[in-house]
C-alpha cells in the first residue's frame, strides 16, 4: 500500500465529480418529495424559477439592477482603492497612516454595519446599495494594489529619472504596468465579494435587484425563488471565474513572462 495514494487521472476526477453532481440532484429531488415545499423545493421547481428570472422582463429587470449595482460599486471602489494605495507612494509619510490605521479599520468594519448606516444616511435605494457595496470593497482593492505598489522597481525608476522622464511618463511607463497584475487580482477578488454583499445590501437597503427579490420571497415564504437567486449568484461567480478571469489571468501571466 503506498503511503500517499496517487491522485486519479484527470478524467477519473472529472467523472467522479459529475457523478456526484448527478446523485446530489437525484437525492435532492427525492428528499424534496418528502418535506414541505417551503423547506426544500425540488431541483425542477427551482430550475423553473431560475428560467423565469432569466427570461421574463420582470426577472431580467432585477438581474440587470443587481448587475448595475455591482458594476458601479466595483468601479467606485477601484478608483478610491487605487488612489489610496498610491498615496503613500507619492507622500511617503502617509504609509503608516494608510497601512496600519485606515486599511485595518476598513477591513474590520462589518459590512452589514455599512449597509444599515447607509440606510439611515441615504434612505432606501440605489445610492445606499452602491455606497455600502463600494465601501465594503475598498479594503480589498487597497490591500491588493498596495502589494503591487511595494513591488515597483526602484532601480528602474531611478534610471527613468536619470533619462529625464517626467512624473506622468514615469507613471504611465513604469508604475502602471507593474501595478496591472495586482489591479487584476484586486478586481477578481472584489468581483466575487461584490455579488455576495450586493445581495445583502439590496436585501436591507434596496428597492430592486436580486437581494430585494430574495427579501420579498423570504417574507412570502416563496422558498423556490430564494433557491433560484442563490443558484444564479453561484453560477455568475463560477462562470465569470471560469470564462473571464481565468483566461485573462493566463494571458496576463504570459504577457509578463515575455523578456523586458
Amino acid at each position: 500500500m503506498p503511503a500517499v495514494p496517487r491522485a486519479l487521472a484527470p478524467s477519473g476526477r472529472t467523472l467522479a465529480a459529475h457523478l456526484f453532481t448527478l446523485s446530489t440532484l437525484v437525492a435532492w429531488e427525492i428528499a424534496s418529495r418528502h418535506v414541505p415545499v417551503f423547506l426544500l423545493p425540488g431541483p425542477v421547481l427551482v430550475a423553473g424559477q431560475l428560467w423565469a428570472l432569466l427570461t421574463t422582463s420582470a426577472g431580467l429587470a432585477q438581474v440587470g439592477a443587481s448587475l448595475f449595482h455591482v458594476a458601479m460599486a466595483l468601479a467606485g471602489a477601484f478608483l478610491v482603492g487605487t488612489l489610496v494605495a498610491l498615496l503613500p507612494y507619492y507622500v511617503g509619510g502617509l504609509r503608516l497612516a494608510i497601512d496600519q490605521r485606515l486599511t485595518p479599520f476598513l477591513n474590520a468594519f462589518p459590512g452589514i454595519g455599512w449597509t444599515l448606516l447607509a440606510i439611515l444616511w441615504l434612505g432606501l435605494g440605489l445610492k445606499t446599495v452602491i455606497f455600502a457595496v463600494g465601501i465594503i470593497l475598498v479594503p480589498f482593492m487597497i490591500i491588493n494594489i498596495r502589494e503591487g505598489v511595494r513591488t515597483v522597481d526602484r532601480d528602474l525608476l531611478e534610471m527613468a529619472a536619470s533619462f529625464g522622464a517626467n512624473r506622468w511618463r514615469e507613471f504611465i511607463r513604469i508604475v502602471l504596468p507593474s501595478l496591472l497584475p495586482f489591479m487584476f487580482s484586486a478586481v477578481r477578488v472584489s468581483f466575487g465579494v461584490a455579488w455576495k454583499v450586493t445581495l445583502t445590501a439590496e436585501l436591507f437597503g434596496g428597492t430592486r435587484g436580486l437581494g430585494y427579490t430574495m427579501n420579498v420571497a423570504r417574507q412570502e415564504l416563496e422558498t423556490p425563488q430564494i433557491y433560484a437567486v442563490i443558484v444564479l449568484i453561484i453560477a455568475i461567480v463560477y462562470l465569470a471565474n471560469r470564462f473571464l478571469f481565468d483566461p485573462l489571468q493566463r494571458r496576463l501571466q504570459v504577457g509578463s513572462r515575455s523578456p523586458a
Binding site: A17, L39, L96, A97, I226
Partner: protein, 258 residues
C-alpha cells in the same frame, strides 16, 4: 542613518495618529449640523459603547456573540482540515470535494445561508453557528488543501516505511507540516467570522450583537448601530492581539522544538 530612519518612523507615526484625531474631529464637527438619528457625535457613540459593555443585560449580547465566533472558528477549522485530508487521501473524493463542494461553498452568498438556515432550523444558537461555519469552511478548506498539496511526499513515504501505522504518520509528520497553513486558516477564519457574525445573527438569533444592531436600526437608533460596529472592530483587534497572535507564536515555537 539609523536616527534618520527612526525620525522618519516617528514622523509617520505622528502623522498617522494626527490623521486619526483629525478624522474624529471631522466626524464631531459634521455631527454638530446633523440630527443624532443620522450622525451622533463621537462622545455620544463612545458613551453608548461603554454602556453596552458595562450594562449586564447588554454585555450579555457581547459575550454570546464572542462565544459563537470562537466556537464557529474552531468547528470550521476542524471540518476544513477533515475535508482537505479526505480529498487528499481518497482519490475518488478529490474531484468531488475540490471541484464541486468547494466551488459551491465558495460561491454561496452568506445572506443566502442566513435565510435558508432559519427556514431549515428555526431561530437558535445552532442556526447561527451553522451559518458561520458554512461561510468559513471554504477559507479553511482552501488553506489546508494548499498545505497538503505542498507536503513533502518523500518524507511521508520514508516515515511510512519506518512507522508503518498511518495514524502515527498523520499525527507526527503530516499535521506538524500542515501547521503554518493551519495558522493562516485560523487568522483568515477569525477575521472573516467577526465580519459575518452580525449577518448570521440578523435572522437566526434572539441574542447577540447582530440582533442588538437590527433592533437599533429598526427604531432609527444610529448611536447603537455605530457603537456596535466599533465594538466589533475593537473585539476583533483585542482577540487578535490577546488570542490569535500568541497562539500562532506558540504553535510556531512548538514546531521549532519538534
Amino acid at each position: 542613518m539609523l536616527s534618520g530612519w527612526r525620525g522618519m518612523r516617528m514622523g509617520q507615526r505622528a502623522l498617522a495618529e494626527g490623521l486619526v484625531v483629525l478624522a474624529l474631529l471631522g466626524w464631531w464637527w459634521s455631527s454638530l449640523e446633523l440630527p443624532a438619528t443620522v450622525l451622533p457625535s463621537p462622545p455620544v457613540v463612545g458613551r453608548r459603547l461603554i454602556g453596552i459593555l458595562t450594562t449586564p443585560a447588554l454585555s450579555w449580547h457581547v459575550a454570546v456573540t464572542t462565544l459563537r465566533v470562537l466556537l464557529s472558528v474552531a468547528t470550521a477549522l476542524l471540518a476544513g482540515l477533515l475535508l482537505a485530508l479526505l480529498a487528499q487521501a481518497v482519490p475518488w473524493l478529490t474531484g468531488i470535494i475540490m471541484d464541486r463542494i468547494l466551488v459551491w461553498l465558495n460561491g454561496m452568498p452568506s445572506v443566502g445561508w442566513a435565510i435558508l438556515a432559519v427556514i431549515w432550523f428555526k431561530v437558535s444558537d445552532f442556526t447561527v453557528i451553522f451559518v458561520q461555519v458554512m461561510i468559513l469552511l471554504p477559507f479553511s478548506l482552501i488553506n489546508f488543501a494548499e498545505g497538503l498539496r505542498n507536503l513533502d511526499r518523500e518524507l511521508i513515504e520514508m516515515a511510512m516505511s519506518f512507522a508503518g501505522r498511518r495514524a502515527d504518520v498523520i499525527r507526527k509528520v503530516v499535521l506538524p507540516m500542515l501547521l503554518p497553513y493551519g495558522v493562516a486558516a485560523l487568522r483568515i477564519s477569525y477575521g472573516v467570522c467577526w465580519k459575518i457574525a452580525l449577518i448570521s445573527e440578523l435572522f437566526g438569533a434572539q441574542s447577540g450583537l447582530g440582533y442588538l444592531m437590527l433592533q437599533a436600526q429598526a427604531v432609527g437608533d444610529a448611536t447603537t448601530v455605530l457603537a456596535t460596529c466599533f465594538l466589533i472592530v475593537i473585539l476583533f483587534a483585542l482577540g487578535e492581539a490577546a488570542l490569535i497572535n500568541p497562539l500562532a507564536r506558540k504553535l510556531r515555537s512548538d514546531l521549532a522544538e519538534a
